[in-house]
């Protein structure tokens, strides 16, 4: 089923790019139409051979698929001297993963204490205030949030650097990624927090919580050791779904903060109609989703032993 899905995704992208664009033009530029100049014609022939452009569409797809599965993601269109697709991905993917990873970790790190805090004080003023601010965060589009955070923390307060520089050391780069990651994390945190709060409140009504208290377990311990684990399911579910929004958000954030990741790579590639790159990245993202959902299922069974049997 999953394989079918991935195949369908790749087919759709492949067809879309080939039908609606002109590969020859993209590779060679204006000389693509020049059939008179012998030099141009030679280049055209070479390109056709290299990219199998003479063959019918289905055959081209199958060839691409074969290469891709073996790890050869092809060569980029346009100028020589540019690294092949695999190289591009190798260079940019870790960066984006680091960014998104940081964002999710931050989101959970913010959301869990926040959720517990508000659940324990349900319907009290602190909780109501939190609901309002949570709502604000969710309503703020990520690019707007990026601008606001940048303005306050990088521009005015100067806590963070203004640009990302790939040549800096590892920890410097982590710091540079902090603000972009935070931009991605905050709306997610607000969503997680609300879900966690709801689930916690429900769990706290359960008998075993009462029993735990009657045993003499302290409030804090009951919250974190007894109530939290059974309440994480909604969060975990959304965690998986959120990955999609995260990628979209990463696109925006990478562009604004000037981080060369696969988000920016795919935007550039689409605009240039450089479809090996587009294909490769889309496939990677789709595969990533699948793996992530699989991990989420795994996580369910770890959290709730009843699922295991």
């Amino acid at each position: 089923m999953v394989v079918l899905l991935l195949l369908a995704v790749s087919m759709l992208t492949f067809v879309a790019m080939n039908i609606l664009g002109d590969p020859l033009f993209n590779i060679l530029g204006p000389i693509a139409g020049d059939t008179e100049n012998p030099e141009s014609v030679a280049k055209i022939e070479a390109a056709k051979a290299q990219y199998y452009l003479d063959k019918p569409l289905p055959e081209r797809y199958v060839r691409w698929l074969g290469d891709f599965v073996q790890g050869d993601m092809g060569v980029r269109f346009a100028s020589d001297g540019q690294p092949p697709v695999t190289g591009l991905i190798k260079e940019r993917l870790p960066r984006s993963l680091l960014l998104m990873g940081m964002a999710q970790v931050m989101a959970l790190a913010i959301a869990i204490p926040w959720g517990v805090f508000t659940a324990a004080r349900a319907n009290k003023p602190a909780d109501k205030l939190s609901t309002v601010s949570s709502f604000f965060l969710v309503s703020m589009p990520n690019f707007a949030l990026a601008v606001i955070l940048y303005y306050i923390f990088a521009l005015k307060l100067g806590w963070f650097p203004l640009r990302y520089d790939a040549s800096d050391g590892f920890f410097t780069r982590m710091w540079q990624l902090f603000l972009p990651a935070l931009t991605l994390a905050l709306p997610g945190a607000a969503v997680y927090q609300r879900l966690l709060r709801t689930d916690l409140i429900t769990t706290l009504q359960e008998d075993f919580i009462l029993m735990a208290r009657a045993k003499g377990v302290s409030k804090r311990r009951v919250l974190f050791r007894h109530a939290l684990r059974p309440s994480m399911f909604s969060v975990i579910t959304v965690f998986g779904i959120n990955a999609g929004a995260l990628v979209g958000g990463a696109l925006v954030v990478e562009t604004f903060f000037g981080i060369p990741g696969i988000g920016t790579a795919v935007v550039e590639a689409i605009l240039r109609e450089d479809f090996p790159v587009v294909l490769a990245i889309v496939m990677i993202i789709a595969t990533g989703f699948v793996i992530l959902n699989f991990l989420v299922d795994l996580l369910y069974s770890v959290l709730d032993p009843r699922v295991r049997s």
């Binding site: 609606l20 589009p141 990520n142 690019f143 009504q205 009462l210 735990a212 990628v247 925006v252 935007v267």
Partner: protein, 301 residues
């Protein structure tokens, strides 16, 4: 959604039934009407913009009344300030609303009509049709939305209606899935089975029995969907991929977000940001309240 629950001091026993007299009064509330008010305001401003006494949004009013080089801060001449080319922010924001709102509403409309219909039919008819459409929707859903949007927009000319269409196509899958599950739920209900046994034609059943019921939860979500569409357009614009002519909120924010502009004249970015934020928040809030009011929870995801 506040229950009359006591978790104060953490985790003591809930009060016995004798004491729990908290009946949920279902009203839409003040916040709802405030949100609706704002939406109405923005929509009216956008609609009637050409007839309002606004400055030309694209005209440059450099050195008006001897002010020197732009950008100009908020003042009597420029209520919300001007941008770096001395264009009036107030009118640009209002004109920007036109595009943003049109794109948002029409994308949702498209999504609801197409997605809703497909979903409704799938949920009722089931079988091969359902399997095929579900698979297609799943494929569409597997694309991160923004990438799909970029993909489609890059392959066409970027005009108002193509962008709207793109976002519409994007919303077909989520809406379709929702319509399908609502349709599934209602198709099992007795009144549909009754109609079936009385020999009513499937199209009749879908139109007369299912549709009104499915429409209720969906309309509650229409507002939320519009918010998402507007934000999506904003995102595209921010990446430089929205409509080529004219301004939208996203484009305005992009203009204002350059480091130089932010330093000298933050209002260039913050005016459209505020407008966008308030509108999205109003739509979200109103949509949320409607959803609570109609109690749509059981159908989400």
């Amino acid at each position: 959604m506040s229950q009359d629950v006591s978790t104060d001091g953490v985790l003591e026993a809930a009060e016995p039934e004798a004491a729990q007299v908290g009946v949920e009064k279902k009203t839409l509330g003040l916040g709802f009407w405030l949100s609706v008010g704002w939406i109405a305001l923005i929509v009216s401003l956008a609609l009637f913009a050409p007839w309002l006494p606004l400055k030309d949004p694209d005209a440059n009013f450099i050195d008006i009344q001897g002010k020197g080089r732009p950008p100009y801060g908020p003042s009597g001449d420029f209520w919300l300030g001007s941008d770096q080319d001395a264009r009036d922010m107030l009118s640009r924001t209002i004109y920007g609303a036109r595009v943003s709102l049109v794109v948002g509403f029409s994308a949702v409309a498209f999504g609801f009509i197409v997605g809703g219909t497909i979903g409704l039919i799938s949920g009722f008819v089931r079988g091969t049709f359902d399997k095929i459409t579900s698979f297609i929707m799943l494929v569409l859903l597997s694309f991160p939305a923004l990438i799909l949007a970029i993909l489609i927009t890059s392959l066409m000319e970027r005009g108002l209606w193509t962008i709207a269409l793109t976002l519409g196509i994007l919303s077909v899958a989520p809406v379709g899935r929702l319509a399908r599950s609502a349709s599934l739920v209602f198709a099992e209900r007795e009144f549909v089975m009754a109609a079936r046994t009385m020999g009513a034609k499937p199209s009749h059943i879908m139109l007369r029995e299912l549709l009104p019921n499915v429409l209720i939860p969906m309309s509650a979500l229409a507002l939320l969907g519009t918010a998402v569409a507007i934000v999506a357009e904003g995102g595209l614009a921010f990446l430089g991929l929205s409509v080529e002519k004219g301004s939208t909120w996203g484009k305005l924010i992009l203009t204002g977000a350059q480091t130089r502009q932010l330093e000298e004249a933050p209002w260039i970015a913050f005016v459209p940001i505020t407008a966008l934020f308030l509108t999205v928040m109003a739509l979200n809030f109103a949509g949320d309240r409607l959803r609570d009011y109609f109690d749509v929870r059981e159908l989400s995801l």
